[in-house]
């Protein structure tokens, strides 16, 4: 087996650029080395939204862009034996796998082997109230809240098993993000699952790639300070990993973006707390002594990674139905806009008090104080800079009573007639919130399952099932 394995990333979140996988796969194929491609599309809350989708339609509840992401690359990946792994199964890996099977058949790939990885959904198998609460989630009150989803972050083992059974596409729900990169490396190099130094390299590879373009110039570029080539066409990352644990981050040659010390350092530290203890289900990664070196154009080597034994527990994130969020916005512009915006903010808060609406609310003056500000509006209230040409006033209100929250948001709409001179551009909306709380569970309480079938076999089985339940449909 070759001593270099390539890991490409095709998506860093649900909502990422859908054409991103194309140049990555083109590059993997052109280089002719053994390779895998992974998609990370399952955020903390995404699985709850997917679970709600599934309740509406039992054939939904997976990544909505799945077909759009895979269609342009599936044939090349299968033909060149580049397995695809993803947590794009979300709340319904089996239905996602059937979608992949239908796509494979349409592309003339009936023998494409598709794995369904299960076991992460613990909503009916584990009583959450008996588990220790993870990190700082103690303050979150979920006693009266209705559970929407509870999923364990499973590790690389079932993914490796799927690859051993010859899967071309591995469809999982909740996995740890780094596991999606660790699994093909373990499978290819035959690394032992207690070789912590090697697994640390796999975890770092996954961590650096899991957010897609964030290591190749995305959420990095800052015009005049950190410029990148062609930000409309940022190439998604590819890692070169060697058997002995060498790691180089790069990207497809025919794309925009950049891989340099700055992009790699920003992503190494992204969402990290103690750099010596980045906990994954497969290994505890320690980057406290690591170093980076530019070893070529758009090529950065990462060295000095250390690994420690994996934890005995897995993290389970539970999603509950939360409160309602109501938002409304209007704009003011031109001479005296600041005074009109401030007066509008005060009137909105007065209106909520007058009507006795049981909501928690805040007002932003977008342009001088919003995302960096506090609920009290500390920054915009103390603003003494120049008169802004335009301002947008935003009210946000939340509470358990849907109607009260809706009424609060509609107070912004009413400003179209009752507001200050020249008030316009009203928008308002009401959205349900999802509350999350994380727990720790012993890993042996989360058995996983792997089923691998060809696209043809999978649809045949689904056809029989569809026949059995068709009266209900």
């Amino acid at each position: 087996m070759s001593d270099i394995f390539l890991v490409g990333n095709g998506a860093g979140f649900s909502g990422d650029r859908v054409d991103a996988p194309i140049p990555v796969v083109r590059s993997l194929v052109a280089r002719g080395l053994p390779a895998a491609l992974f998609f990370e599309t399952l955020g903390e809350r995404t699985v709850a939204l997917a679970q709600l989708e599934r309740r509406r339609d039992p054939e939904l509840g997976y990544e909505p862009m799945l077909e759009r992401l895979l269609e342009p690359v599936l044939r090349d990946c299968v033909t060149h034996r580049i397995p695809i792994l993803g947590n794009f199964g979300a709340a319904n890996p089996a239905a996602a796998a059937r979608l992949v099977a239908r796509l494979a058949l349409r592309l003339g790939l009936p023998e494409c082997r598709i794995a369904v990885v299960g076991g992460d959904d613990v909503s009916s198998s584990i009583a959450l109230d008996q588990l220790p609460v993870h990190e700082a989630d103690d303050s979150i009150d979920t006693k009266s809240a209705r559970l929407v989803a509870a999923n364990a972050y499973i590790g690389a083992e079932p993914l490796v098993e799927a690859l051993r059974q010859g899967a071309d596409v591995v469809v999982a729900g909740r996995t740890s993000d780094p596991a999606l990169a660790i699994a093909p490396l373990v499978h290819h190099f035959g690394w032992s699952l207690d070789d912590w130094e090697k697994l640390a390299v796999g975890a770092a590879c996954g961590h650096l790639l899991e957010c897609g373009s964030q290591v190749t110039g995305g959420v990095f570029w800052d015009p005049g300070f950190k410029d990148i080539p062609d930000p409309a066409n940022i190439g998604f990352p590819i890692a070169e990993v060697t058997r002995d644990g060498g790691l180089v981050i790069t990207k497809p040659a025919d794309t925009g973006g950049i891989v340099d010390l700055r992009t790699v350092k920003e992503q190494l530290l992204y969402e990290l707390h103690d750099p010596a203890r980045y906990i994954t289900p497969d290994v505890v990664l320690d980057i406290s002594g690591c170093s980076v070196e530019q070893v070529g154009h758009d090529r950065v080597a990462v060295r000095g990674l250390r690994g420690h034994a994996r934890p005995d527990t897995l993290k389970v994130t539970a999603c509950f139905e939360g409160t309602w969020l109501g938002e409304g916005e209007v704009s003011v512009a031109g001479p005296n806009a600041l005074a009109r915006a401030r007066a509008t903010a005060d009137v909105l808060q007065q209106r909520l008090r007058l009507r006795g609406l049981p909501v928690r609310a805040r007002v932003d003056l977008i342009g001088i104080g919003s995302v960096l500000d506090s609920d009290a509006g500390t920054l915009w209230r103390s603003y003494d800079g120049p008169e802004p040409p335009e301002l947008r006033i935003r009210l946000a209100a939340e509470g358990p009573d849907r109607d009260a929250v809706d009424q609060a948001a509609r107070e912004v709409l009413a400003l179209l007639c009752c507001g200050t001179a020249g008030t316009g551009g009203a928008r308002w909306r009401l959205t349900p919130r999802i509350l999350t709380r994380s727990y720790l569970v012993l890993r042996e309480r989360v058995p996983t399952s792997v089923v691998v079938r060809s696209a043809r076999e999978m649809l045949k089985a689904a056809g029989e099932m569809a026949g059995a339940i068709s009266p209900a449909g």
């Binding site: 990095f220 530290l269 707390h273 939340e398 919130r433």
Partner: protein, 113 residues
């Protein structure tokens, strides 16, 4: 030594991430020679004060000398985080630029351009 006051943004870059009601902010000087100077000036106390208006309760700085980078972990800064925040940016991704607005005093010869 001839020194000049600049916003951190002139000499360093940063990215913010979140976990619950906690934010992590990397701080990376463009010139590694600035690392000890930032280590002296960008203290946990000063960073905590930057986020006092949002109710932040604690700031821990992790130093990574081999990367010439720092990682600041700020507790209770996200007004509830995505679970409960009324902020447009519940994840606090924009907070890295609050950090970069902090003023530091640096030797003039280490300023780029």
């Amino acid at each position: 030594m001839d020194r000049i006051d600049v916003p951190l943004h002139a000499v360093a870059h940063s990215r913010a991430g979140d976990k619950g009601n906690r934010s992590n902010l990397s701080l990376i000087p463009y010139d590694p020679a600035l690392y000890p100077i930032l280590a002296e000036q960008v203290t946990e106390e000063r960073v905590l004060a930057l986020f006092a208006h949002r109710g932040a309760t604690r700031c821990t700085r992790y130093d990574l000398p081999r990367l010439a980078a720092f990682n600041f972990v700020v507790d209770d800064v996200l007004e509830g985080g995505v679970n409960g925040s009324l902020n447009l940016d519940g994840h606090g991704k924009t907070q890295s630029f609050r950090l970069l607005s902090l003023t530091v005093s640096v030797p003039r010869e280490l300023l780029q351009g």
